[in-house]
């Protein structure tokens, strides 16, 4: 497959994820669309290109693992899992409803394909390190991918885990920073500056790659580069736009944790190319 075909194929999947995120949060009346949309291209590149996984066998020992550290963007993960075939798409519309397996934040005991329960920010990288250690102990060559938020990077444990991964040379860990510049109380720069973030990760002993987090070919290339790095974990700093793909949600702080109204849902779906909505 040519690179342009590949790109087209993944972008089509990203579009499906974006529509699902809008519909899921719209139907639920709550949830976190902004950070789900900023991560959509990263997550779709993972699930529909990069990850070695078997949706029919979610506990396959040799699978690559994806840890969603910023658990509030559960919608993008659920959408990717459903589209991959881990569970029926019908379930997506039960998000956040009583009795649903799709809790507000991911619960590994309820949802096939969720590697770890998350929602409390900061903990995913340390979990990923533990999974990576387990892989090394078992001499399995799976890789562990972990998605971290930029606001989340203010948590101290992220840096404890950063130190740990470098110290134990966890070259089977690839972290992705969803650098959308926004958190809840404002821009990341206003609330608590994390720059110079690339220098910080380098100083912690990581291999760092900086990319446009909406360019799926750049994401693919970064994953490929990470695979070649030995004795060091890799951090992909992905510059993204919160709310990406829906004009009135892009860079709109309020859509961090606010669902679209029914009207907004229709408008967003139209923008995302859904015809019969």
């Amino acid at each position: 497959m040519s690179r342009s075909e590949l790109r087209k194929r993944i972008e089509e999947k990203s579009l499906i994820l974006r529509r699902d995120i809008i519909r899921m949060t719209g139907e639920a009346g709550s949830g976190h669309p902004g950070g789900s949309l900023s991560a959509a291209d990263i997550v779709s590149t993972l699930y529909f290109y990069q990850l070695r996984h078997r949706p029919a066998e979610p506990k396959w020992r040799e699978r690559d693992r994806f840890v969603l550290s910023k658990g509030h963007v559960a919608p993008v993960l659920y959408a990717a899992l459903a589209e991959s075939g881990y569970f029926s798409r019908d379930i997506l519309w039960t998000l956040r409803k009583m009795g649903s397996i799709l809790q507000g934040h991911p619960d590994m005991k309820k949802v096939p394909g969720v590697e770890i329960s998350s929602g409390s920010l900061g903990q995913g990288l340390a979990v990923a390190n533990g999974i990576a250690l387990g892989g090394k102990l078992d001499q399995l060559d799976y890789r562990v991918y972990v998605l971290i938020g930029d606001g989340e990077s203010q948590e101290g444990i992220v840096w404890e885990a950063a130190m740990f991964a470098a110290h134990y040379k966890l070259d089977n860990v690839t972290a992705i920073l969803d650098y959308n510049g926004l958190q809840i109380d404002g821009t990341v720069s206003e609330v608590m500056e994390i720059r110079p973030i690339v220098d910080k990760w380098r100083a912690f002993g990581w291999h760092v790659i900086e990319i446009d987090g909406h360019n799926v070919l750049a994401i693919i290339d970064a994953f490929a580069e990470a695979n070649t790095i030995k004795e060091k974990p890799t951090m992909i700093v992905a510059h993204t736009v919160k709310g990406k793909g829906v004009s009135f949600m892009e860079n709109a702080i309020d859509f961090h944790g606010k669902a679209p109204t029914k009207e907004q849902m229709k408008e967003a779906l139209k923008e995302l190319g859904e015809v019969d909505c």
Partner: protein, 312 residues
């Protein structure tokens, strides 16, 4: 060290060695306290399965969680205050909510840490761990019970909190002791009052019972090492007979054994209770005997509590 006294933390390193020998899936983490917790014994023999996390307890807990998802049985050390206090939310949200196979066995619980003082003496760890839904909480009374519980935890799926201590404490059991989760152990029969005890207060209670016997009071002594799940039947059965209850623990009277026993009794069999424990206070620097006296955790304090009920 005399053979009639051994620390419960000492059982940790010894149990880990046996576990590590028998099962490749045993992995041990510590947070720059491997010498104190005795996990260093494991580290020396199985260096490939031991990971020091540095002074980073939150990170240790989440790393343990990750390891557990890959099928490892992960034991974690550190001091009780840091394992439960610093890393509380990692324990709650990442280990226990997910039901992961992590066995937390920190040492230096209670005030018998001694000279280090209040910052290192947790009087509230049982309370913190007991309220986390589904977490199993065990407080061994001596070296052999600690060793048996640490080993049993490897065979029982899911997260555990096993509270260990620094000082050498009297031996009650022996190497054949079998730990049964959810089972309280009657150590002495009695009819006038029941003393429910945990940890170092079990041997203190046995001593108290001897003193009481000389005064014609026949106290039953029950070791409630399995705080959660708690042995409702044994508690009820004993109190139906004695109708008087004393609880004894090296922990705050808020949220620990006293509370756990009271929760069982108040719904099924209300009975007067006296709680021997730490009265909503922080710890203090001092020698262990001085501290036990200061915080009213001696056999004499248990004797007084029983008399207070019996002669009421």
């Amino acid at each position: 060290m005399s053979e009639d006294k051994k620390s419960t933390r000492g059982a940790y390193g010894d149990a880990l060695l046996e576990l590590g020998e028998a099962d490749e899936n045993i992995v041990v983490l510590d947070a720059d306290l491997a010498k104190s917790t005795t996990s260093i014994k494991f580290a020396k023999v199985f260096p490939d399965r031991f990971f020091d996390c540095g002074v980073a307890e939150q990170n240790m807990m989440c790393t343990a969680a990750g390891l557990a998802t890959t099928g490892k049985i992960c034991y974690t050390g550190s001091f009780a205050i840091f394992a439960t206090g610093r890393a509380y939310e990692q324990v709650r949200n990442t280990i226990v909510y997910s039901g992961l196979n992590v066995k937390m066995c920190p040492s230096h619980s209670g005030i018998t840490v001694g000279e280090d003082g209040a910052s290192h003496q947790t009087v509230e760890d049982i309370a913190l761990m007991r309220v986390i839904p589904g977490l199993k909480v065990v407080v061994p009374a001596d070296y052999y019970e600690a060793k048996a519980a640490i080993k049993a935890a490897a065979r029982i799926e899911g997260p555990f909190y096993i509270r260990l201590g620094r000082p050498s404490v009297p031996i009650i059991f022996n190497n054949d002791y079998e730990f049964n989760l959810g089972k309280a152990i009657k150590l002495k029969d009695g009819s006038d009052a029941t003393i429910f005890a945990i940890g170092i207060m079990v041997s203190a209670s046995l001593e108290a019972a001897k003193i009481l016997e000389k005064e014609g009071i026949n106290a039953e002594v029950i070791n409630v090492s399995s705080i959660k799940p708690i042995d409702v039947n044994t508690i009820i059965e004993s109190v139906e007979k004695t109708r008087k209850v004393v609880t004894a623990e090296e922990h705050s009277v808020i949220g620990g054994l006293g509370s756990a026993v009271a929760e069982v009794l108040c719904e099924r069999l209300p009975a007067p209770i006296r709680m021997v424990g730490i009265k909503d206070l922080f710890g203090l620097s001092g020698s262990i005997p001085e501290l036990l006296e200061y915080f009213h955790l001696t056999p004499q304090d248990i004797v007084l509590a029983v008399k207070n009920l019996v002669y009421q």
